[in-house]
């Protein structure tokens, strides 16, 4: 769908929703659209990123096709989200990986494979296939600097692209019809609370009609597991860094040490959450999302899942001769995950958290228009 047609169609549907308002209790998208009379592309991108794709509104809507109003709310939101990821990204030739999904996926896969293959052939097999039990064992396989320098570069680059995307999001927010003046930290806390609890995959309390028409809280739980699992792994990595560089204790750490506990919990949560989300995604109604959205989602989930799974495997096999191979597999998948991070589904958290904050700011400042 051409960009103009996309926003014209979204505007048509949002105008019908604004005259209806039955979905107001399901999620913040509807209260947010009720603060507006007209819908600019900037408004629509914001609303689309506030949408969590829970699909409760589709179940509630009496105007879905073949009704002549033809409301396809989850799908049009998904299409705008895809457009917005590309619109807010940088630079253009890389941002296009959003609309040319397979390109992005191949890029990530290729990166993973390259890291693995290069490591596999560069590391002498005497070290790669040896049993390492001494302190600093991992660095016997991949030297510390070789591991840390590309990692820091990738994370810093990804974060920079995320931050500039967020900046563009907030530039758009400036010409809002609704209030955009934060008067306290309240909106921030509330938005973070709603992010951490993934509140809006809850269908307004009744659950999410995903993957089937029967509402459940399962998808919300899986998503929370992925989110918390990822954070737990970040904490683990940070702790390991502190242990090593400040307390001067080289890895590997004991099973009862904090880095390993956080890492293991996070890894298990990630694997369970990712498998659950992929399973739900396969069973879900593909008509309700943009054609390209599923490819992007699967790619992100698979990278996340593989990174977590190989991480756990490294832990389990760290005293065996397989450690070296598993370790470079792990580093390969992590590299793929972070190379695709600014140009894949990973970015959704930037805009979703931003949209939740913006929603809370708007809610603080005003109410739905046109009431009696």
């Amino acid at each position: 769908m051409a960009e103009l047609d996309l926003f014209a169609e979204a505007n048509r549907q949002l105008t019908i929703c604004n005259a209806c308002r039955y979905c107001e209790g399901l999620c913040p998208v509807f209260p947010a659209l009720e603060m507006r009379k007209t819908f600019t592309p900037q408004d629509i991108r914001y609303l689309a990123n506030l949408c969590h794709d829970c699909r409760a509104c589709e179940q509630a809507c009496m105007f879905i096709p073949p009704h002549e109003f033809g409301i396809t709310f989850p799908r049009i939101m998904s299409e705008v989200r895809m457009e917005s990821y590309e619109h807010w990204s940088w630079p253009n030739f890389l941002a296009r990986s959003f609309s040319e999904t397979p390109k992005g996926i191949w890029l990530g896969l290729a990166a993973s494979a390259i890291v693995f293959v290069v490591a596999f052939f560069m590391i002498p097999s005497s070290r790669l296939f040896a049993v390492h039990t001494e302190p600093g064992s991992f660095y016997q396989v991949v030297p510390y600097l070789v591991m840390i320098v590309p990692a820091i570069f990738l994370v810093a680059y990804g974060a920079a692209i995320w931050i500039q995307g967020a900046a563009r999001f907030w530039t758009d927010a400036h010409d809002s019809q609704a209030s955009n003046n934060a008067r306290s930290f309240g909106p921030l806390w509330r938005a973070l609370r709603d992010s951490f609890t993934v509140k809006y995959l809850g269908g307004g309390g009744a659950g999410c009609a995903y993957p089937t028409t029967t509402p459940t809280q399962a998808r919300r739980v899986f998503h929370a597991l992925v989110f918390w699992g990822f954070l737990s792994d970040c904490i683990s990595t940070t702790l390991a860094f502190l242990y090593q560089d400040f307390r001067h204790i080289p890895p590997p750490y004991a099973f009862t040490s904090l880095p390993v506990i956080f890492g293991t919990c996070g890894g298990v949560a990630l694997v369970v959450g990712v498998v659950g989300l992929i399973y739900f995604k396969i069973r879900s109604d593909h008509e309700q999302a943009a054609d390209k959205a599923y490819g992007l989602d699967y790619a992100f989930l698979v990278f996340l899942g593989l990174a977590a799974f190989t991480g756990l495997l490294t832990l389990v096999l760290r005293s065996t001769a397989a450690m070296g191979t598993v370790l470079i597999l792990h580093l390969g998948t992590v590299a793929g995950l972070f190379i695709t991070a600014p140009y894949g589904k990973f970015v959704h958290f930037v805009y979703r958290v931003s949209a939740l904050i913006r929603f809370q700011i708007e809610a603080q400042g005003g109410k739905a228009l046109g009431g009696h």
Partner: protein
Amino acid sequence: MNSSTSYDVIVVGGGNAAICAAIGAAERGGQVLLLEGAPQYMRGGNTRHTRNIRLAHNAADQFFTGPYTADEYLADLIQVTGGPANLDLAKFTIRESEKLPRWMTAHGANWQHPLAGTLHLGRTNRWFLGGGKTLLNSYYRAAEKLGVEFRYDAMVEDLLIEDDCFSALIVRNGDTTELIRGRSVIVAAGGFEANLEWLEEGWGEAARNFLVRGTPYNRGTMLRNLLSKGAQSIGNPKAVHAIAVDARSPKYDGGIVTRLDSVVFGVVVNKRGQRFYDEGEEIWPKRYAIWGGLILEQPDQIAYSIVDVKTVNSFLPPLYKPFQAETLGGLAELLGIEREAFLRTMADYNRGAAGNSDARMQMLDGVTTRGVTPPKTNWALPIDRPPYYGLPLRAGITFTYMGVAVDERSRVMDSRGRPFKNVYAAGEIMTGNILTKGYVGGIGLAIGAIFGELAGRDAMTNGRA
């Protein structure tokens, strides 16, 4: 035509009353078949377009903003309708409505606070999360768990009734017809508001200009069938509930989004350019339901709501963009109103409203016209600042009042005042027993749920005690 299994209870219809009847019967162990005439995606009749239910309660709670006693409920009903046709059934409904939240919650309903713009109903009515279709989805899931069988696209053509006793019905699905036997039948198939030919009997050609706000499947086939079998009719056959909707709306099933709330913010004229009613008589929630009837009395059953730039953004955003012009004459041409008469009407009105500068919409502010017929008695601001806006209005029909008389067990009565043994009616098809004219918002769902569930239960205990 073939003869298949026999059911304990066959429910004809698929809306709120029908599904509550199916649940009521299935919970008492009945083998139940529900026949919905609409396709699955449109199941649920006009319940799809509902969003709240009026319930009696003695205290405020998480969702009600204050108490609404059974006495007050009855007083409202009597005031609006001029007295229900069957006072006992009305009292029964109101009494039973107190228990409905628990029943509805137990069958999957979730609740929410009143929607924006509907706070005035927060004390008397309760909102279900996601509206009527979400509620229906919950009910259908509950019924499915209880083993109720559903068939969609299943139009019932005839009920076989002999000696006051139902034995079977004939259902059409596409080109095939089938005879299905049942020990009881519950007819919950709605009114006949989507049958414009039938409405023409009372309204003449004007009926062709009705827009039908709800499902196109409420054609009254079952109502007509019951009447032809000797059921006692109740309610005025011509009476309809109609509101002002945008004339550009779909012919059928436009639902809530086609309504217009602009009337009180300006004036309303017919195509001859004349005003015909006090637009500021009462606050809009108390008057919106009379405007359908008023529009039906106008030439070609059309009218135009006129506002200017001062108030065009004050009402709920309309579905279709208002027509817009820099002059009143230009607006008349755009809308196809008689220009000279319209300009005279507007000049008269603006003279009568001269000097009025501030309207307070939350209350009857007494800002009135002087020396204008009809007057506008509240919020009468001059319409003098361009651009000017016009919205074409037609009568959007919500429901019909005529139905079949029922007894206290929801059984259909014959013309001699005796009930059929095993023929029940629930929902809009028998709402005329309680609602003779007017409407108290949200009572229709209460009647449907209460008499539906009652009929389902009674059909299972009938003759077995």
